[in-house]
């Protein structure tokens, strides 16, 4: 029962956090210089046209009225329409959310097993040249800006040799395999970005455990090192590993705007940056809610998995 209560409590806090976030976003966008009417009309906006557009968009009403109305509709499941282009937000966001998730899942499918394997290998051969090389190389990758990784991949694999497309201009009616092919380079770039972090944590968690008595016992019994790591150390080191994996999964959904821009990938990040730029509050709210909820739910999942995986946490004193 303890687990269910915990989940309920955390979900409650999560909802509260999301509510606070929407309030903060409203305030933040309000304080930003300029408003939607000005940004739609651009540099050449005449004052009376701006005023007319403000009236049409309902921006002439005070913030709390607009927020209240938005919240009321939202609680009934209506995300509203984009103020800037009058399209239903659910429709506007739907395809982009799917595309973002597609990219995140594809990158995770490549990156997570790779990171685990490298981490385990590095732990197995710790303090050898192999371990040190992997450590240096991954550190190097961590410290490269992701857009540079993107540009280098494009320069090599799209411009020099024409193996993959330079822009991932995927459309909903593309067959799955074509989508995958079109997304090859962004997936590779994201893999480079996240593998290092996960791999290092995997290695650290396992090495940490190697000093505990039960591993030493196993070693004394003469069990092979690889077997010890896979069967004894890895399961017990899962909690921190899961944590770092989840953190990186969240990043793959939430933090990829730069990669989207470099590869012209039509995901949510670009939509959010655009919407902030033009001050399209309802769209910003929707994006931030999706990102916030993703983060909260993934974190919750990580905690639940850790608790399930660790009996001591399941039955706290």
């Amino acid at each position: 029962m303890g687990l269910l209560q915990l989940v309920a409590k955390r979900l409650g806090f999560g909802l509260l956090a999301l509510f606070v976030i929407t309030v903060l976003i409203s305030l933040g966008v309000e304080v930003l210089p300029g408003d939607l009417a000005q940004s739609i009309l651009g540099q050449s906006a005449a004052p009376d046209t701006v005023a007319a557009l403000r009236r049409e968009l309902g921006l002439d009403r005070p913030l709390h009225v607009r927020y209240g109305e938005w919240l009321f509709n939202f609680l009934q499941g209506d995300m509203g329409t984009s103020l800037a282009n009058k399209r239903e937000i659910s429709e506007l966001i739907g395809q982009r959310l799917l595309d973002t998730l597609f990219l995140a899942v594809a990158a995770a499918v490549v990156a997570v097993p790779l990171a685990l394997a490298l981490g385990v290998l590095a732990a197995l051969y710790r303090e050898t040249l192999f371990d040190k090389t992997i450590s240096m190389v991954t550190l190097g990758f961590i410290s490269l800006p992701e857009f540079l990784i993107g540009y280098i991949l494009v320069a090599l694999f799209a411009v020099q040799v024409n193996w993959f497309p330079a822009i991932s201009n995927i459309t909903p009616d593309m067959p799955f395999l074509s989508q995958l092919y079109a997304s090859a380079l962004p997936v590779a770039a994201l893999t480079f970005v996240v593998v290092a972090h996960m791999m290092r944590m995997t290695r650290a968690a396992i090495v940490n455990l190697m000093q505990s008595p039960f591993i030493e016992m196993a070693q004394l019994k003469g069990i092979a090192a690889a077997r010890i790591i896979v069967h004894h150390a890895l399961p017990n080191a899962l909690s921190p590993i899961i944590n770092v994996i989840v953190l990186n999964l969240a990043y793959l959904v939430v933090g990829v705007v730069v990669i989207e821009v470099v590869f012209v990938y039509p995901g949510l990040g670009q939509l959010m940056v655009d919407s902030v730029r033009v001050r399209d509050l309802p769209v910003v709210q929707a994006c931030v809610l999706i990102f916030g909820a993703t983060y909260i739910l993934l974190n919750l999942t990580a905690d639940i998995l850790s608790i399930i995986g660790n009996p001591r946490l399941r039955h706290p004193k």
Binding site: P33, A37, S44, A46, T49, L53, N85, A155, A158, Q270
Partner: protein
């Protein structure tokens, strides 16, 4: 001329770069419009039908809509010209020609204009175009609750009527000899009167397929287009690519056939690539540094003169736009535009003259603040820092204030007394002076209200005699050159990257990038 031909062949074969070509052609005395015509152009005009034109364009945003009144950037400007037609059009050579209008006539005094609409033009939905459609489309911008950017410029209209299915009459509040030019504006495409513009129906060269704001748009050839033989492409696909490197990568990888806004710093590198031509076209766009002429110390004409002599335009031309442009002469009018005053001395960098004018103002040194951000134009911060170094040699201490790019146009421009700014320019002198230099204009960013200048502006607008107009515009330019409050250091080129598979008619329009937004109907696959 044979030498030019040889050069042209070398250029086509990629044996010399465009830059070399320009240099050598210039040495042969073949400067001017000629070099532009050499880029993949076939003088015989053997345009071929077919193919799918893929454009990768900057200037698309997720908040784009098909409402022409709120179009602000390049993606939609190209798309609206692909699906809609205007009443009039600026031809590649700069002359005004009819698009939907077959002919037009202004009554004496230029207060009344009658446009004869072309016969038998069909919308994409099969409906035949009438003058009523044109009137309805124009009214969209001038209705009381209009949200269109054209509301101000069209305020000159007193009445608008369809006299018959083929005759539109426009009456103006005051005479305007350039009114037919106004109708070439990219906001003023025509759609059926019984439809919303959001449906995207028009009479343009292409019929809109799908449109995903900020992502892509596609269209197919309009078989009933009113211009004989055009367009040449069967299909059109536009992809929004905001990142400049991503754009050039897409072009190099052959995923698009043409891109806009090539970064100045990479333009020459791109030009050296095989299979890609760089079109660097002088337009009307220019960088400005306007000061409020009614705020101290800028209210002293000698201070303004000193600041104008204290900027090294040539250095900025090379550093900020890598030579892709021309130095400005403190006029918002490009050299190739009608009635440009060619008699004025070109201002150069002259710290001594600047010092002299400072002394005239009774000052030995000057401390001023200028606001800048890269929102004004790419490189505006660097330009300000360079200007600071130039001016220091004349005893002028410029404090460069870096503003936030976000909100620059709403919080800094028109608000702070001295700022960096960008103007796209206008096709006519009247439009340019009216929009930013007329007293009381919404976007007057310099507050320079010379009485003679202001009255000449109104006189010239209604003057139909070309020679008299020229005299008036020359005097206005001289006044502005001498006393005005806006520094115009540079005119920047439009730089596009185009696959060598694409051919053009030979003359590329300077009104806007991509052949005046109309590459979709003016270009073809060689």
């Amino acid at each position: 001329m044979t030498q030019i031909k040889q050069l042209e062949t070398l250029l086509r074969q990629g044996k010399i770069s465009r830059r070399d070509f320009l240099k050598r052609a210039g040495a042969l005395g073949a400067a001017g419009a000629a070099p532009l015509s050499m880029l993949g152009a076939s003088p015989a005009f053997a345009a071929k039908r077919g193919g799918r034109l893929r454009l990768g364009l900057a200037g698309g945003s997720t908040d784009d809509t098909l409402d022409p009144g709120t179009i602000t950037d390049f993606f939609m400007q190209v798309l609206t010209h692909a699906i809609r037609s205007n009443v009039t059009e600026i031809a590649p050579d700069g002359s005004l020609v009819g698009d939907l209008a077959e002919s037009w006539e202004g009554a004496p005094g230029a207060k009344e204009w009658n446009f004869v609409i072309r016969r038998g033009v069909e919308f994409h939905n099969g409906k035949t175009l009438t003058a009523a459609d044109v009137v309805a489309s124009l009214r969209h911008h001038i209705r009381p609750d209009s949200t269109s950017a054209m509301k101000g410029p069209l305020e000159q209209i007193e009445s608008l009527r369809a006299l018959s299915p083929r005759l539109m009459q426009v009456k103006l509040k005051t005479g305007n000899a350039d009114f037919p030019y106004t109708l070439t504006d990219y906001h003023l495409g025509v759609w059926p009167e019984d439809e919303s513009p959001l449906q995207g129906t028009g009479t343009g060269p292409f019929i809109l397929g799908d449109f995903e704001p900020g992502v892509r748009a596609s269209a197919r050839r309009n078989p009933n287009y009113h211009k004989e033989g055009r367009p040449f492409f069967d299909e059109l696909a536009i992809t929004a690519i905001e990142d400049a490197s991503a754009r050039s990568n897409a072009l190099r990888a052959g995923e698009v056939d043409a891109i806009n806004r090539v970064e100045y710093k990479t333009a020459n590198l791109m030009d050296r690539l095989p299979g890609i031509n760089v079109l660097s076209i002088t337009g009307t766009g220019h960088y400005t540094i306007p000061m409020f002429a009614d705020v101290a110390p800028f209210n002293d004409v000698n201070v303004r003169r000193a600041l104008r002599w204290a900027i090294d335009r040539e250095a900025l031309l090379q550093t900020i736009i890598n030579g892709h442009g021309a130095v400005g002469n403190d006029l918002p009018i490009a050299r190739h535009q009608p009635f440009y005053n060619t008699s004025l001395e070109q201002r150069t960098y002259d710290p001594d003259k600047a010092k002299f004018h400072l002394k005239q103002a009774g000052l030995s040194s000057l401390d001023v603040q200028v606001s800048t951000a890269d929102a004004a134009f790419s490189g505006a911060v660097d330009a300000a820092v360079l200007y600071k170094e130039h001016a220091a040699k004349a005893g002028i201490n410029i404090d460069v204030v870096r503003e936030s790019s976000d909100g620059y146009w709403s919080n800094v421009w028109l608000k702070k007394p001295w700022v960096f700014c960008f103007w796209g320019g206008r096709p006519t002198q009247d439009q340019m002076w009216t929009v930013a230099y007329q007293k009381g204009a919404d976007w007057n960013d310099n507050h320079w209200y010379n009485d003679r200048f202001q009255s000449l502006l109104l006189q010239a607008r209604a003057e139909v005699d070309e020679e008299l107009r020229r005299e008036m515009y020359w005097e206005m330019q001289e006044l502005h050159w001498d006393e005005g409050a806006t520094i115009v250091p540079l005119f920047n080129n439009f730089v596009s990257g185009v696959s060598s598979k694409i051919a053009t008619t030979g003359t590329i329009s300077g009104t806007a990038e991509m052949d005046g937004y109309r590459a979709t109907e003016r270009w073809w696959f060689a």
